[in-house]
């Protein structure tokens, strides 16, 4: 490790780190928000489930580099525009989370769903106030996978010149110099760890009933 190099480039690395953080976080959030209604749709209308899941699976198989390159011509953005990265990763998150949300809703006991109907809930209210809260643990588990995979996918965009931690890998590769590569890996792991912890804590806070200890 060349600590001198790191010291000299601290400011640059920090700005890449910040860029990396929001480039990974924003698509995770957007993807989840889009996946909630789509997943609910796939769950409620069983005929759409297979189609939606297949389309999502196909979407997920498009190589990220190809998507980064193609998106500007579809969106009319410039190749260096970080929006391309956000859109691409949102699509990946969406592809992953549609299935997770549909399956999470399916994991809610049918009796609870029927019970909500019998009490006089309208479908949307039942979905939002009964079924979704109960699906949080499963959705949270899926979101952790999506968030962590976004952290690593962002770095691919370095090839296009979008500034973030991926630049460290490019630099290290071009200079045949290991310090930036190691720093990049460590920082990516830290970012992934932070995301994972935040989601974990959010799920915990949103599901107090799962930790209720039996008083029997």
């Amino acid at each position: 490790m060349n600590w001198n190099w790191l010291n000299r480039n601290t400011d640059q690395i920090l700005s890449w780190l910040l860029a990396h953080l929001w480039l990974a976080a924003l698509p995770t959030l957007l993807g989840l928000l889009l996946a909630l209604p789509l997943g609910a749709f796939a769950f409620r209308y069983r005929w759409s489930y297979a189609t939606l899941i297949t389309v999502a699976g196909l979407l997920y198989t498009i190589p990220s580099l190809a998507l980064f390159v193609v998106l500007p011509s579809i969106l009319g953005t410039r190749i260096l525009n970080p929006i391309n990265v956000v859109v691409a990763l949102t699509l990946y998150t969406l592809a992953l989370m549609v299935r997770v949300v549909a399956d999470a809703l399916d994991s809610v006991p049918p009796l609870v769903r029927q019970s909500a109907t019998a009490m006089g809930y309208r479908p949307i209210r039942s979905l939002i106030t009964v079924q979704l809260p109960l699906a949080i643990p499963v959705i949270g588990a899926g979101l952790r996978v999506a968030a962590v995979s976004n952290v690593s996918l962002v770095s691919v965009a370095a090839l296009l010149g979008v500034p973030q931690l991926g630049q460290l890998f490019l630099t290290g590769f071009q200079l045949d110099f290991y310090t930036p590569i190691i720093a990049g890996i460590v920082l990516c792991l830290v970012v992934a760890g932070v995301f994972d912890t935040i989601i974990l804590l959010a799920v915990r806070m949103a599901t107090p009933w799962t930790r209720a200890v039996s008083h029997r």
């Binding site: 609870v112 029927q114 109907t117 019998a118 009490m119 309208r122 009964v130 009933w209 209720a212 008083h215």
Partner: protein, 400 residues
């Protein structure tokens, strides 16, 4: 009053059509418990769910107090009908109090006001108020079921639907819940439709029983006594079971049974004199009834075990079975005699104190007398077996 008029429900289509309910016409009286009973696949739950439109009929009409349920917005209709689902179906993510407050909150009541009402209801179903802050997973099955009943009662609906509400708890808790439910209904007088596959539960709780046969056919609709004494067809007879004659005894109060004096021994005190008569057969236990300080029965003891003037303790006791109280049925009286080690059933007064014992022979005589009385009341020669409608007539003929 709830009316089914020629209601059918067909599931599936094309070659896979199956009738869950076939041309059901039935009138369910206001303020009574009507039990839908039958084996699985007989359409009893489907029928129940057609009342609050969780299932829509394929044809026919369901009316509540003369109003076609289809003319009411389904969620609104359901909020006006209490529903107790199997296994309680509580919302795991809401506290007990918020579970009970569900319908009032849906109806636009403030959460605070709804919780206050919920706390009262909690007490009403026999749970401490402190339980309101717990989550359903922290409650036993029986407690969850009580919360389920409280939730159904929260908006004070005139009609309650109960779908096998007590089937998931053990027999002891089930009997408790049934008794409390009977007590609650006596206070509330709701129009209740109760679904069960258990004929004993149906007989115990129902003011009227609708027996469903597989394929959604209504095989018989009558009082429990009528179903037991006069099954409409082979299906009902078979479903009700072989010991229906014995079960029918539940409907006759054992008011005029002779009660015999029974010497008793106090728990914890020694026998003052030799309890055994000199001519007691040797080698057989000689049973003496043991009571506590309040004269409540505790069990039976073999006099030989405590012959040396030793005080009786709990370990000496052989527990008896049912007790015959002032309101007990002939079935209970017979069971008390049969389940007691001495063959003598313990009779108690309203405060639970021993007043003597009843003998199986006397119960059999009372059954015979009740049978004759019911035959005479109908001005008909008696036939073998117990007659229709015997319960009311026999109870009236027997001074109790």
């Amino acid at each position: 009053m709830i009316n089914f008029e020629n209601v059918s429900k067909i599931f599936g289509d094309g070659d896979h059509r199956t009738a869950a309910v076939e041309d059901l016409t039935i009138e369910i009286p206001t303020g009574k418990i009507t039990v839908f009973v039958g084996p699985s696949g007989c359409g009893k739950t489907t029928s129940l769910r057609m009342i609050n439109r969780m299932i829509e009929p394929t044809s026919g009409t369901v009316l509540i107090d003369g109003v076609d349920t289809r003319s009411i917005d389904a969620p609104k209709l359901r909020r006006g009908i209490g529903y107790v689902i199997q296994n309680a179906g509580l919302f795991p993510h809401r506290t007990v109090l918020d579970n009970i407050a569900t319908v009032p909150v849906l109806e636009g009541q403030s959460r605070k006001a709804a919780r206050a009402t919920a706390a009262e209801l909690l007490e009403r179903v026999g749970l401490p108020e402190s339980m309101g802050r717990r989550y359903p997973a922290q409650l036993s099955g029986g407690q969850q079921q009580r919360v389920g009943v409280a939730r159904a009662l929260a908006a004070d609906p005139p009609v309650m639907l109960m779908d096998e509400p007590f089937s998931a708890v053990d027999p002891v808790v089930r009997a408790q819940l049934q008794d409390e439910f009977t007590r609650l209904q006596a206070e509330l007088g709701k129009t209740i439709v109760f679904v069960t596959h258990d004929i004993d539960e149906a007989v115990k709780l129902g003011d009227a029983i609708a027996v469903f046969a597989v394929g959604g056919r209504l095989a018989q609709y009558a009082t429990p006594a009528e179903v037991l004494s006069h099954p409409a067809d082979d299906f009902v007879a078979d479903f009700v079971g072989r010991d229906r004659g014995y079960r029918a005894l539940s409907f006759t109060v054992a008011g005029n049974l002779p009660v015999h004096d029974e010497p008793t021994l106090r728990l914890g005190s020694p026998a003052e004199q030799n309890l055994m008569p000199p001519d007691a057969p040797s080698g057989e236990p000689y049973w003496v009834l043991v009571v506590d300080d309040a004269r409540q029965p505790r069990g039976w003891v073999d006099a030989r075990r405590v012959a040396g003037g030793r005080p009786v303790d709990l370990a000496d006791l052989v527990l008896g079975g049912s007790l015959v109280g002032p309101q007990s049925s002939l079935r209970t009286a017979l069971d008390a005699a049969l389940s007691s080690p001495s063959g003598r059933g313990v009779a108690i007064d309203a405060d639970g104190r021993v007043i003597g014992t009843v003998a199986a022979r006397d119960v059999l005589d009372a059954i015979e007398a009740a049978r004759l009385a019911s035959g005479a009341a109908a001005d008909q020669p008696t036939v073998a077996g117990v007659r229709a409608g015997d319960a009311d007539q026999a109870a009236a003929a027997v001074p109790s």
